[in-house]
């Protein structure tokens, strides 16, 4: 922290010990520095002080003047000359704390033996450490109806609630989702929802985690385990590029729950509900466990590993081959694919972008993103944030929380170039810069930023021709930083690993001879292919043209691409080796299927959008499944082109030797936007993004989670609604030549030319149903 201004330190005495802490530090946290634990419930370091539970009372004097009564140490910052006596040295503080504890317990049920929180309960623990053991209360405890569902995934037991308001404060202050509030008054006060509106916050699970009693429980974990039977392993979230630190709790080889981990520089102590509650896919009954090989009859049948590897190696050697690796690979696995393409297949035909993408994007990634170091901390310091092709709450929820924190704490100004005003941007009080889908570029160019601004660019920016060129130019002209925030957890790592046709590992341009020499030296090979690799779309086209005959495909959903029919046909046509955890559209068409380990079963790391390594160990031990990296090594061995990457550690060590590319970067050739389409009366331009909770494959089987997904709707503007005679709830049929979807209308703030629908939600899987997702002209009729 060499750049930060010197922090003023204040020295105070707590229980006779001096401690120096930064000005503004609360007494309760200064005491923690000394190892003095003052009991507390409402206090939470990331929530505003509230002083409600009164458990943390201490005696204070300042420069010889004593406060007449004990004070809440969670609300008072240290001051020079302050002497604090906690329960350890003040009989008054000790009695005050015991008195409060007794009052907290008079209405708390003694159902600890059947309570999920039992064994890890702050109330239970502190009643033992700071209570008086016996209650003098002889009356009947307050009764409420036992747990009520406040959403499909969170249950509320009001009898257990001690009204610390952590949950309601979290929902309001951190998530800006005030769906739960304190209701009623006095002894009847209780947490609750408005009866018709469930607690549909993407962040609701955090309230379960920070509840200091068992009042809020998660439907998926309720009554499943005792905390002392769980083995906890630090892990990283595989669901998006936010990069949350996580904890995975396993009992007898099965993940029972996942919690947000603490990482002040990334997710603080929060995560989203998808990260917390979408993990059953790992234990889904249809998990692949054995290699499969397609036999003479055309059926996939179980095979031994040596047999399957031999078939795979033979097929890949016999054809011109390419690699399609999905955005969910770990950094080490992506590195394995990257090296496999170059060393074993002798090609640069590799692309991790198993989604809508463009050549403009590939240049942008090589020019502006690879190796970049913009971080969460930079958001904290930014003067303005511009969102382009990026909807933070849906596409990178922890980025949303960080933006929200800055909006709330220091009025950070946020602007979004988009066609529809999103719920998230509304919550961020963001400026909505309204554009027709496809026309982003011109608008971006006109935004005023400074060198302290940041442009947060989502992967969807690639869907609008010229948008990324405009972003690059805007950053050049203003000095603003760029941060590219893809949706998937592995994309940034895959980019850095060179799992893309124009870059080798470490951001080295394929076209640069010196860069190729760097990598060839590291890999001890004589040379590397120098022809620019194909993109995903080009690889599929090349299969159809016959230029490519084999594909090795890992973690790809072909339905995510621009032309899924063509992708499926290519998979039918080519010799395909699939590395997957579960049967998919790819494995159905593959010639060899090799089962791989899920994230919780292996070690490795992701690079989050910042490029920060989020490494993790296997949480579930004893899985027979191997990592992609290990299997790639085995295939390469079988092909006679060893990768020498037998383990994740080996890969990590090799990656660490990559160093930084200091040569010339790929420069962008600006791309022009497409012409504005002329629309007839029933035509709209399609706009969409994926919701956080939708039909994503990793959310399979999570019904409780799915219950909090946002409604599937089609959004049109008030003007268009009026001219079409459409009101909220009327059904709209959106059609293309491929097909149609029919959705209830919602009239909201959106560009008159645009219609918005969720990209991959139940009843609205646009790429499959319509064949397009953004920028295309669609026909809309009211039915």
């Amino acid at each position: 922290m060499t750049t930060a201004a010197a922090v003023e330190m204040i020295t105070v005495v707590i229980d006779g010990f001096e401690v120096s802490v930064a000005k503004g530090t609360l007494i309760i946290r200064a005491a923690e520095q000394l190892g003095i634990q003052i009991p507390r419930f409402c206090d939470h370091p990331l929530l505003d002080p509230v002083g409600a539970c009164r458990q943390c009372l201490v005696d204070i004097e300042i420069n010889g003047r004593a406060f007449p009564k004990p004070q809440a140490s969670c609300t008072i910052p240290v001051e020079p000359g302050m002497i604090v006596k906690t329960q350890l040295t003040s009989a008054v503080a000790d009695k005050a704390q015991k008195g409060v504890m007794e009052l907290l317990l008079i209405n708390h049920p003694l159902d600890c033996p059947v309570c999920d929180k039992g064994g890890e309960c702050p109330l239970q623990n502190q009643a033992m450490s700071n209570g008086q053991g016996q209650s003098r209360y002889e009356g009947v405890k307050r009764r409420f109806e036992k747990p009520i569902n406040i959403s499909s995934q969170v249950l509320l037991d009001r009898e257990r609630c001690i009204l610390c308001a952590r949950c309601t404060r979290f929902s309001d202050e951190i998530a800006s989702d005030p769906f739960i509030t304190l209701n009623e008054r006095g002894a009847l006060q209780q947490v609750g929802i408005y009866e018709k509106v469930p607690f549909k916050s993407y962040f609701s699970g955090n309230t379960v985690q920070i509840c200091p009693v068992g009042a809020l429980t998660g439907a998926s974990y309720r009554f499943r385990a005792r905390p002392f039977d769980l083995v906890s392993t630090p892990s990283a979230c595989e669901h998006c590029a936010s990069g949350c630190d996580m904890r995975t709790d396993v009992r007898r080889g099965k993940t029972l729950r996942r919690l947000a981990g603490d990482d002040a520089s990334v997710n603080e102590e929060w995560n989203c509900d998808k990260g917390r509650w979408a993990f059953k896919y790992v234990t889904a009954p249809d998990r692949l466990t054995h290699p499969l090989v397609r036999n003479e009859a055309g059926d996939l049948v179980e095979a031994s590993w040596p047999q399957a590897l031999a078939v795979a190696a033979k097929g890949l050697k016999e054809h011109a081959s390419a690699v399609l690796v999905g955005g969910r690979a770990t950094y080490e696995d992506a590195y394995g694919y990257s090296k496999f393409a170059r060393v074993a297949l002798g090609t640069n035909d590799i692309d991790f972008r198993s989604r809508l993408s463009s050549d403009e994007e590939r240049e942008f990634l090589a020019s502006c993103v690879v190796g970049s170091t913009t971080t969460y901390r930079d958001i904290d310091l930014a003067d303005r944030i511009l969102l382009v092709g990026f909807e933070p709450e849906e596409e990178s929820p922890i980025v949303f929380l960080r933006l929200n924190k800055n909006v709330r704490k220091r009025g950070l100004k946020i602007a979004a170039v988009a066609s529809k005003l999103s719920i998230g941007v509304e919550k961020l009080k963001g400026e909505f810069i309204k554009v027709a889908p496809g026309q982003e570029a011109a608008t971006i160019a006109a935004v005023s930023l400074t060198a302290k601004s940041i442009i947060l660019v989502g992967e969807r920016a690639s869907e609008s021709a010229g948008a990324l060129s405009a972003v690059s130019a805007l950053a050049d002209s203003t000095g603003a930083k760029i941060a590219w925030i893809p949706r998937r957890a592995g994309e940034r790592g895959a980019l850095e690993a060179g799992a893309i046709g124009n870059l080798l590992p470490g951001g080295r341009p394929v076209a640069d001879a010196a860069a190729r020499v760097d990598i060839a030296t590291l890999w001890s090979t004589s040379s590397l292919p120098s022809i620019m690799g194909r993109s995903s779309d080009e690889i599929i086209a090349a299969v159809h043209s016959g230029a490519i005959g084999a594909l090795i495909v890992g973690g790809v959903d072909p339905l995510d691409g621009a032309n899924s029919a063509s992708a499926l046909a290519a998979l039918e046509k080519a010799f395909v080796v699939a590395l997957e955890i579960a049967p998919s559209e790819v494995t159905m068409r593959a010639d060899v299927v090799l089962p791989v380990a899920a994230v919780t079963e292996k070690s490795g790391s992701f690079l989050n959008w910042e490029g920060r390594a989020r490494s993790f160990e296997a949480a579930v031990h004893g899985s027979l499944n191997r990592s992609d990296l290990r299997i790639l090594s085995m295939i390469a061995q079988e092909m006679g082109s060893p990768l020498n990457l037998g383990t994740v550690t080996a890969a990590a060590q090799e990656i660490s030797k990559l160093g930084v590319w200091e040569g010339v970067r790929v420069s962008m050739v600006p791309v022009s936007p497409e012409k504005i389409a002329t629309l007839t009366g029933d035509q709209f331009i399609l706009n969409s993004w994926r919701r956080l909770l939708d039909c994503g494959t990793l959310q399979k089987g999570e019904e409780n989670l799915a219950g909090t997904a946002r409604a599937t709707i089609a959004v049109i503007s008030p003007n268009r609604a009026q001219s079409m005679g459409v009101a909220d709830g009327d059904l709209l049929k959106i059609s293309t030549t491929v097909g149609s979807v029919t959705l209830p209308a919602l009239v909201e703030d959106i560009h008159d030319d645009a219609i918005w629908a969720p990209r991959n939600s139940t009843g609205s899987q646009l790429l499959v149903n319509l064949g397009v997702a953004h920028g295309a002209v669609v026909t809309v009729v009211k039915i």
């Binding site: 005030p178 769906f179 509030t181 304190l182 009623e184 008054r185 408005y194 009866e195 018709k196 509106v197």
Partner: protein, 208 residues
């Protein structure tokens, strides 16, 4: 929709009274009571929409304050002060008498919908104890008998006027509109003060 365009215009004018719109929650809730008689879901949702809040935020406020009712009250809502001073001075007896007389419990409504009964806290008229309120108008120095006559007059459709209030007792809904800040033109009706209020002044004029 229970609200006319005129109602919506009034609600808009209530919001415009304040520098920040959220401040209008309380008068808007009073206004909902003036139209519906109590705070129902439609009212909460409407206020949430007008103020761009979540319904939960509005219901959190509505449930905090005892004057906002969750179910219909009578046309005349009778509150008997049973805080210590009034209780001792006769409020307890009055409340017991009215419960028996009306055949309702606390927060009950008579079957004809005319009268509802609630025991209330100190209503700032202690020098007139025991005090009974009806639609939050003062009925001073009540007795068991006088309070029974009072509710009988309400049930017969001809309520006795308040001791210190307008010439004719307004209905619950009409009173709620006053509390929403709408001037009903009755401010000049009724006495300026009762005898106890003027006692000190009278004694001073007598030279005390």
């Amino acid at each position: 929709m229970a609200y006319s365009s005129e109602d919506l215009a009034t609600m808009d004018s209530i919001i415009k009274r304040y520098p920040r719109s959220r401040s209008a929650i309380m008068p808007l809730l009073h206004f909902v009571q003036s139209r519906i008689g109590y705070v129902n879901g439609e009212g909460i949702e409407l206020i949430a929409k007008l103020l761009t809040l979540e319904s939960a935020e509005v219901s959190a406020v509505a449930t905090f304050y005892t004057q906002y009712k969750r179910s219909p009250v009578g046309e005349y809502h009778v509150g008997v002060c049973t805080n210590t001073l009034c209780a001792v001075m006769g409020g307890d007896a009055i409340f017991a008498g009215l419960k028996e007389h009306l055949g309702v419990e606390n927060n009950g409504v008579t079957a004809d919908g005319k009268v509802s009964l609630e025991h209330i806290e100190c209503n700032a008229a202690c020098d007139y104890a025991p005090v009974v309120m009806a639609n939050w108008e003062f009925y001073d120095n009540q007795s068991v008998a006088s309070s029974k006559e009072l509710v009988d007059s309400m049930r017969s459709g001809n309520p006795k006027p308040p001791t210190r209030g307008p010439n004719i007792l307004v209905t619950w809904k009409e009173a709620s509109a006053v509390l929403a800040g709408i001037n009903d033109g009755k401010a000049n009706e009724g006495v300026q003060a009762g005898e106890p209020t003027l006692l000190g002044l009278k004694l001073w004029k007598e030279g005390k």
